[in-house]
């Protein structure tokens, strides 16, 4: 669908982001391939999350943010699209599980309802499919009317993934989705990601390099430059980044010399 690189679902071209006059991201150009998992790694404060939030324009909620350059979804500039339609195509899972204080059913059916689906039967089918895809159906199927807040942290996060899947996005952004979870819950989320990449393009920000190495197909390493603006140091197949990185800074970071 893209013009020159059909395999790239998401692209940025010379993309920069400013908080007022402060440049937080500098000239990032990247092609994110579809039906794969791309991990964004880098030290704290390098702009990983800000960069991730660019793909569904969540940074616009912060007053004073301006951007230059392009972010393309299937070759089309997302800043020229309706933001509501864009967010339907680009779903997001947040760092801390954030289910609404509603029932499990109402959490998952929230998106489809917003987008105009009223029929109870259709909604029920979407809810079941999404919960199954998020590998939480078996745990909650007997009581979908239970408050989502009564679930454990790991279950809540999978519910949030189900909620994002329910609007049938094409891309799923994950902002350190397992950082607030215990190791067992983290493992389940990682397994889930492997099954989700068959259907979706996934971009994940993670602090945890082992996690990036385990789950991702491609890895982007970001760092701040001398003016504290985040930029992309290196991007490539995860295996290559973790074994034979091209840039000295990447090697230093993944071998634990800083960060």
């Amino acid at each position: 669908m893209g013009t020159d690189a059909p395999e790239a679902r998401l692209r940025t071209v010379d993309y920069s982001l400013f908080y007022g006059s402060f440049r937080a991201l500098r000239d990032i150009t990247i092609d994110i391939p579809e039906n794969s998992i791309t991990a964004i790694i880098g030290p704290s404060g390098c702009g990983k999350s800000t960069f991730l939030r660019s793909f569904n324009r969540m940074n616009e909620l912060i007053p004073g943010v301006t951007v230059t350059g392009k972010v393309l979804l299937d070759g089309e500039d997302i800043f020229h699209q309706n933001v509501v339609a864009l967010r339907r195509r680009v779903g997001m899972v947040f760092q801390r599980p954030n289910p609404f204080p509603k029932s499990i059913f109402d959490n998952v059916s929230y998106g489809p309802r917003i987008h105009g689906i009223r029929d109870r039967g259709t909604l029920a089918a979407i809810v079941e499919r999404s919960l199954r895809d998020a590998a939480i159906w078996e745990e909650v199927k007997d009581d979908l009317q239970k408050s989502a807040l009564a679930l454990s942290g790991g279950q809540q996060q999978r519910l949030c993934i189900a909620r994002a899947l329910a609007v049938e996005p094409e891309v799923i952004l994950m902002d350190e989705p397992a950082s607030a979870l215990d190791p067992v819950a983290t493992m389940r989320i990682e397994e889930l990601m492997q099954s989700l990449k068959q259907k979706y393009t996934i971009v994940i920000v993670t602090h945890n390099m082992q996690q990036a190495a385990r789950v991702s197909d491609y890895t982007a390493f970001m760092m701040t430059d001398e003016e504290r603006a985040g930029n992309l140091v290196e991007f490539g197949a995860t295996k290559k980044i973790f074994t034979t990185p091209a840039d000295r800074r990447t090697e230093d970071y993944i071998s634990g010399r800083f960060g």
């Binding site: 909620l61 967010r87 339907r88 947040f94 954030n98 609404f100 929230y110 807040l149 609007v167």
Partner: protein, 290 residues
């Protein structure tokens, strides 16, 4: 124990005794007020007292039936005006103006906050005078439920707006982000996520407003008139229970009936406060579960 130690312990006991005494005094004063009204008032309760209307005149004969009805009408009408307006203002202050970087909007926000704080501290008779000048006279609503409800709404609006603002602020941003990330508009997010989550807080504000209307006299003295009859339309004059207490005490010799009416009011206020406690308990219980 050393002599110095004994002296310090004795000093501590003195101070504690003083605190204890102050606490007891404060409690005693409050209990005395409520107790006095109850003891004087409750013996006057009778079926007649609650089912007949005041007959007017200097005797203070009759019950409080029409004043109960008037109070109920006025509370409902006032809150029907103030609750939606206050909630909408709260939404504006938190969800729209609060996010803005526009200098004009920020200045306006500061000004409205300051205005709300000031209004909350203005003596209620000022609201009464304002209501008299605008609603009773200029708009020709006369001494009526409508004038009183409009003036009463002005009186409780600061309270309702402040609690609404707090209620909206206490809704975690994570909910808003989640909703927006699913492709909801800001309005859908407010209507379907923020508003339901803020409901307990909004309810608290409304109950506070109800309590304020129940106990208010000055505003209604100059906007509601003082008719003893049961109102038949929004243009009817009337008197609330609190106003009735005032009339009985100042214009009649029926001091016992004033006490009885006062006792009814005090009991109502106690229930209002219990309702606030119940709502805020539910509010914090909801918060702890997450």
């Amino acid at each position: 124990m050393t002599a110095g130690g004994a002296r310090r312990t004795a000093w501590q006991n003195c101070v504690f005794a003083l605190f204890w005494l102050s606490g007891i005094t404060a409690m005693a004063v409050m209990l005395a007020v409520v107790g006095y009204v109850m003891v004087k008032g409750i013996p006057e309760f009778s079926i007649d007292f609650f089912t007949t209307s005041p007959r007017g005149g200097l005797s203070g004969e009759g019950g409080i039936a029409s004043t109960i009805v008037t109070t109920a009408y006025l509370v409902v009408m006032t809150m029907a005006i103030a609750a939606p307006l206050g909630t909408a203002a709260g939404i504006y202050l938190v969800e729209y103006a609060g996010n803005s970087r526009n200098r004009v909007a920020t200045a306006f926000l500061k000004l409205s906050r300051f205005g709300i704080e000031t209004l909350a501290g203005v003596p209620s008779i000022i609201f009464g005078l304002f209501g008299y000048a605008l609603f009773v006279t200029a708009m020709h609503f006369g001494f009526s439920l409508l004038s009183a409800a409009l003036a009463g709404a002005c009186l409780v609006l600061p309270v309702v707006v402040r609690t609404a603002e707090e209620a909206f602020k206490s809704v975690p941003d994570a909910y808003r982000e989640a909703s927006l990330s699913l492709g909801a508009t800001r309005w859908e997010t407010i209507w379907k996520v923020v508003l339901p989550s803020a409901t307990p807080g909004l309810t608290t504000g409304i109950i506070l407003g109800v309590g304020r209307i129940l106990s208010e006299t000055a505003v209604f003295y100059v906007t509601l008139g003082g008719s003893c009859r049961t109102p038949t339309s929004i243009f009817s004059s009337g008197r609330t229970m609190a106003l009735h207490v005032y009339y009985l005490a100042m214009e009649t010799r029926a001091f016992d009936k004033a006490m009885a009416t006062g006792a009814v009011l005090v009991i109502l206020i106690i229930f209002v406060n219990l309702a606030i406690n119940a709502v805020s308990k539910r509010l914090s219980a909801g918060g702890n579960r997450s």
